[in-house]
């Protein structure tokens, strides 16, 4: 078989092998489904709770996308400002890093004081947790424009704004799309944390309630749904990255 085919098959083989081993492991060692349910048990639970799971998953998806969308808009804007002004960059960097260091789960109570329980805290948590990598990447892309390129344009009388929009922003796109893959994953973590603590719907909330009621298979089923959703969203951003910045992925390493 050709290497290319092997590479295409490898993810499937490894994934199926992983679950098969898990299944065998559970049956051979007779592990209680309270500790670690077998994949078949979890799948059964997914089927059994499908309506409930679908409803909550849709909610989580919306929260994540809303927070992610906010983060993309805000991240692009702030990244452009930081990338084009060394002064603002140097001035705000400690603040940004400090803010990013706060575990966002600690911010949820404040969001509840401000907005109450509902859809706002999950969206805000998703946004707060995911904008930072976008800002840093866009700013880096813009700030590292080749000095010769800058000279060429400045000698023509280009303004700072011209240089940022003609060269900086397009040049930052590979960094931007790279950061989206990180940001979507983080946004997802954020919305689930928000739902766990400050919402009456969503997978996060479902998880909290199921674990409080010791409904172990439902907890695992929710986790599986989270994983599948996460993979799908990651794949969509990765696809967007490839189709938007093909010019940046011409190296043999990326092929």
């Amino acid at each position: 078989m050709k290497t290319k085919n092997k590479l295409a098959l490898a993810p499937w083989v490894f994934t199926i092998a992983f679950f098969a081993l898990w299944e065998i492991f559970c049956h051979v060692l007779k592990i209680s489904s309270f500790i670690l349910p077998a994949p078949s048990t979890i799948l059964w639970a997914v089927w059994e709770y499908r309506n409930q799971l679908a409803y909550h998953a849709m909610h989580t998806l919306w929260m994540t996308l809303a927070g992610f969308g906010l983060a993309v808009g805000f991240g692009l804007l702030l990244g452009m400002v930081l990338g084009s002004s060394r002064l603002i960059n140097a001035g705000t960097y400690p603040l940004l890093v400090g803010f990013n260091s706060i575990p966002k789960v600690a911010v949820v109570p404040i969001l509840v004081f401000w907005f109450g329980v509902g859809w706002v805290p999950p969206v805000m948590t998703a946004f707060l947790i995911s904008f930072f990598p976008i800002v840093v990447n866009v700013a880096t892309g813009i700030a590292t424009v080749e000095p010769e390129m800058e000279d060429v344009l400045r000698a023509l009388g280009a303004s700072k704004r011209d240089i940022v929009f003609k060269v900086g922003v397009p040049r930052a796109m590979p960094y931007f799309f790279g950061s989206l893959k990180v940001a979507i994953t983080l946004a997802y973590v954020g919305s689930v944390i928000g739902e766990q603590n400050a919402s009456n719907v969503g997978i996060g909330n479902l998880l909290t309630r199921a674990s409080a009621a010791f409904e172990v298979p439902l907890v695992w089923a929710a986790l599986v749904v989270l994983a599948v959703l996460g993979v799908i969203m990651y794949a969509i951003t990765a696809y967007a990255e490839r189709s938007m910045t093909g010019w940046a992925q011409r190296s043999q390493m990326a092929a």
């Binding site: 000279d151 009388g157 011209d162």
Partner: protein, 263 residues
């Protein structure tokens, strides 16, 4: 006739330099309109600083820089530039890279959208002139280094600048490609009548292309010798193998050697 580029008694110190040593000191240089001038010198002699001064990217600490009859107080806007690194934008096709200056410089900037076809035709003409006919649709990274450098020359000339600044544009190319591009450059100069200042390490390049050669000393840079080149134009690459050419190159070499020793 007053000079097109007149650098008079200029001393320049970069603000971020720690030892406070000037990059250039008491620099005097005059280039006439339409002339092809070359500046040669040991590495680190402030040749690039000179480029920045002449295009208004830097302003001198002391002395004056006059370009086209006006003292330079802002980027001059009538200059085109090309560097050793072709700095093509990888997300634009070669043609769109060449059209980039027109998106910046007036009056083209406001005309570009409505007169696109006219400008594209102009870019195609330039591409044909440098031997890149029909390559405009390719991305720069699909071209070889020499081809990218040709495209970079087109970009420097598309807005019909009155002054073309070349900073070692052929420095990274192999010697065959380099000689080819000398001829391209020679023909472009003959066709466009633009004033050119070429900064280079290559004495043969300076001797073949230019009307006037300035030798710079090591940092802080000054002009230590000025030499007119009398070979008639148009020139053929064959002249580089004549004894007159060799003796000129030899003479330049001794100036540079002295400049290096003095440092």
């Amino acid at each position: 006739m007053s000079a097109f580029v007149d650098i008079h008694d200029v001393t320049h110190v970069y603000a971020r330099v720690e030892d406070g040593l000037p990059a250039v000191q008491n620099l005097n240089l005059k280039v006439n309109e339409g002339e092809f001038a070359a500046i040669v010198g040991p590495s680190g002699c402030g040749k690039s600083t000179l480029m920045k001064l002449a295009t208004g990217l830097q302003f001198p600490r002391e002395g004056t820089v006059i370009v086209d009859g006006r003292e330079v107080g802002a980027p001059v806007k009538l200059a085109g530039m090309a560097f050793q690194n072709p700095t093509m934008l990888p997300w634009r096709t070669t043609r769109d890279n060449i059209l980039l200056p027109l998106e910046i410089v007036e009056p083209h900037r406001s005309r570009l959208r409505r007169h696109k076809a006219e400008y594209v035709a102009k870019a195609e003409r330039l591409l044909a002139q440098v031997g890149l006919k029909g390559q405009g649709d390719k991305f720069p990274w699909q071209l070889s280094g020499g081809m990218q450098q040709r495209a970079s020359l087109c970009r420097a000339l598309i807005h019909e600048p009155k002054l073309l600044m070349l900073d070692e544009p052929f420095g990274a190319l192999d010697s065959f490609t380099r000689e080819e591009l000398w001829c391209v450059m020679h023909d472009l100069h003959a066709a466009q009548k633009v004033t050119i200042i070429l900064v280079t390490h290559d004495l043969r390049e300076a001797a073949f292309l230019s009307d006037r050669i300035f030798c710079m000393s090591a940092r802080p840079g000054r002009i230590v010798a000025e030499r007119e080149v009398e070979f008639p134009r148009p020139r053929d690459i064959e002249i580089t193998y004549t004894p007159e050419f060799s003796s000129l190159v030899h003479e330049l070499r001794s100036h540079i050697a002295q400049a290096r020793q003095a440092a």
